[in-house]
């Protein structure tokens, strides 16, 4: 059913890049859900879309357009603070970013496929030239999260105590938003701006429904993201249906499975210590 041709040529790029993307999405999504910052996972890809469209127009490697606009967006959100974040200005600015992206796309001649692949993903969306930047950004992201792991956990769960211990809550917030921006710049070429939320938040939300242990939830989040990504690539290759479709369905499905598992488990008593 799946020929081995699937792993050769352009597809090899896709498998490598998409696997890295899935790992990063799973890790970033775990923290986004932990910190309740899922809004950023909607907002940052919109800005990234505009950047990608612009980069494409200029003939520059799309990743850079994604990264620059995503980071700018992340810093913008960080500067706003949590109240203004949900203000009308932010909502309108986000939509404006999509509008700007549409504008750039309309200026190029291949605007139909372009808009489509930036929004919904593209199984051949990763060219050879993009694998190295993706791998590089992936490495930087993992290293950054590894270094900040404990502080991220502390500031997410107990911001007051973190401040008392000299860890800047605001600093960690900006740090995390920038990490999410980096993750966005990798994820959007593969699954599209509109579906990034599904890949990043779906697995993490499913994982947290199933287990209370943070380490396990993180691992599950990554595992589910990888499974969704691999299945989506294989099925997309086989059927020629868009990658984003499988990712969207996959994210929703695993999330619902997680919910169901939680409901079933709720009939048992809460876990006792060994």
């Amino acid at each position: 059913m799946f020929s081995s041709l699937m792993f050769t040529g352009l597809m090899a790029n896709t498998w490598i890049a998409a696997s890295i993307v899935a790992v990063i999405a799973g890790i970033t999504g775990f923290f986004a859900v932990l910190r309740g910052e899922t809004f950023a996972a909607h907002a940052i890809p919109n800005g990234a879309f505009a950047g990608a469209a612009g980069a494409f127009l200029l003939g520059v490697n799309v990743i850079w357009g994604l990264a620059i606009f995503a980071i700018a967006g992340a810093l913008g959100i960080g500067a706003l603070g949590s109240k203004a974040r949900h203000d009308v200005v932010t909502a309108l600015t986000l939509v404006l970013m999509l509008g700007v992206g549409a504008l750039f796309v309309s200026w190029s001649t291949e605007y139909a496929e372009q808009a489509y692949s930036l929004l919904f993903g593209e199984v051949y969306g990763v060219s050879g030239g993009e694998v190295w930047p993706i791998a590089g950004i992936g490495l930087v992201t993992v290293a950054a999260i590894g270094l900040a792991f404990r502080r991220l956990m502390l500031t997410s769960a107990m911001p007051e105590v973190a401040e008392a211990r000299g860890v800047s809550v605001r600093g960690m917030e900006i740090f995390f938003l920038v990490v999410m921006a980096l993750a966005t710049s990798m994820t959007v070429p593969v699954v599209g701006a509109l579906l990034m939320f599904s890949l990043m938040i779906g697995p993490a939300a499913a994982a947290r429904s199933v287990t209370a242990r943070p380490g396990l939830a993180l691992a599950l989040s990554v595992a589910i993201a990888l499974v969704i990504t691999w299945l989506s690539i294989a099925l997309s290759y086989r059927t020629n249906w868009p990658l984003g479709f499988f990712v969207g369905i996959g994210g929703a499905l695993f999330y619902l499975i997680g919910l169901a598992a939680r409901e079933l488990g709720a009939t048992r008593a809460p876990a006792q210590t060994a």
């Binding site: 859900v33 932990l34 107990m158 105590v161 008392a164 860890v167 209370a212 943070p214 006792q272």
Partner: protein, 248 residues
């Protein structure tokens, strides 16, 4: 009790947002002592605690902290019930949550966390999600979180607020035990002194921007509080409880 205080405030003043919140605050806390900052809401209790932690600027006087590890217990933490963090994980964050990198599992870590959980009586729900715990249970976990770093001074911000009477008593008993058995100095804030009367060594009464410190019998008298408040106040003792009533 040793003679050297762990914490000493001398004539401390706090000026915030254009207002003089407190002035001329002086008191000290010694090892194993149980001290409570008592005052109505808005009197500046939380601000005072934050100041001691170094999170608010001092506008006058000084705060002397003898080389102590200070543990801080916030009033509560806001965590959704589906967040994947167990009570045990919150306690583990108390050991090194502020450091870079991530912690490798080790036996001695596990033992210290386990001990802290036992000390506060939270072993039963150590593996439950923090967001699903009751107010009293969560308070215990937060105390364990602070305990695990072996503090000599424990600061608690309104630990009894939002607790039902039974949980209130349990927390007070627990804190009293920690003060006596582990010789940890306790400094907490509350708006009602009555639950604390059995265990309190020193009261720091905050009212009207000023502070009176000493034993309950010394400080909580009609004359003393009238002077503090600046208008007539009666102190009544009813079956071991203290009632402070505004006079005419």
């Amino acid at each position: 009790m040793s003679t050297e205080p762990l914490l000493q405030l001398d004539g401390v003043g706090i000026h915030l947002g254009g207002r003089q919140i407190l002035s001329d605050v002086s008191f000290s806390v010694h090892k194993g002592e149980f001290a409570a900052i008592i005052g109505p809401n808005g009197a500046g209790k939380t601000t005072l605690l934050k100041l001691i932690l170094g999170l608010r600027p001092i506008s006058a006087g000084r705060v002397i902290k003898h080389q102590t590890t200070v543990g801080y217990v916030p009033q509560k933490i806001v965590i959704d019930s589906d967040i994947p963090l167990r009570a045990r994980d919150v306690v583990s964050l108390g050991m090194d949550g502020h450091k870079l990198g991530f912690s490798l599992p080790s036996r001695s870590r596990k033992e210290k966390i386990e001990q802290a959980l036992i000390d506060v009586g939270a072993s039963e729900f150590a593996d439950a999600r923090v967001g699903e715990l009751s107010g009293g249970q969560q308070q215990r976990v937060l105390i364990a979180h602070a305990l695990v770093s072996r503090p000599e001074l424990l600061l608690l911000d309104e630990p009894l607020a939002n607790l039902d009477i039974r949980s209130e008593q349990e927390i007070v008993t627990l804190l009293g035990k920690l003060a006596r058995e582990q010789e940890i100095a306790i400094l907490l804030s509350a708006h009602d002194m009555n639950p604390l009367l059995p265990v309190m060594d020193r009261i720091i009464y905050v009212a009207n921007g000023k502070v009176a410190s000493g034993s309950t019998d010394e400080v909580v008298t009609s004359e003393g509080l009238t002077e503090l408040y600046g208008h007539p106040v009666d102190v009544l003792r009813v079956r071991g409880r203290v009632v402070v009533v505004a006079g005419d």
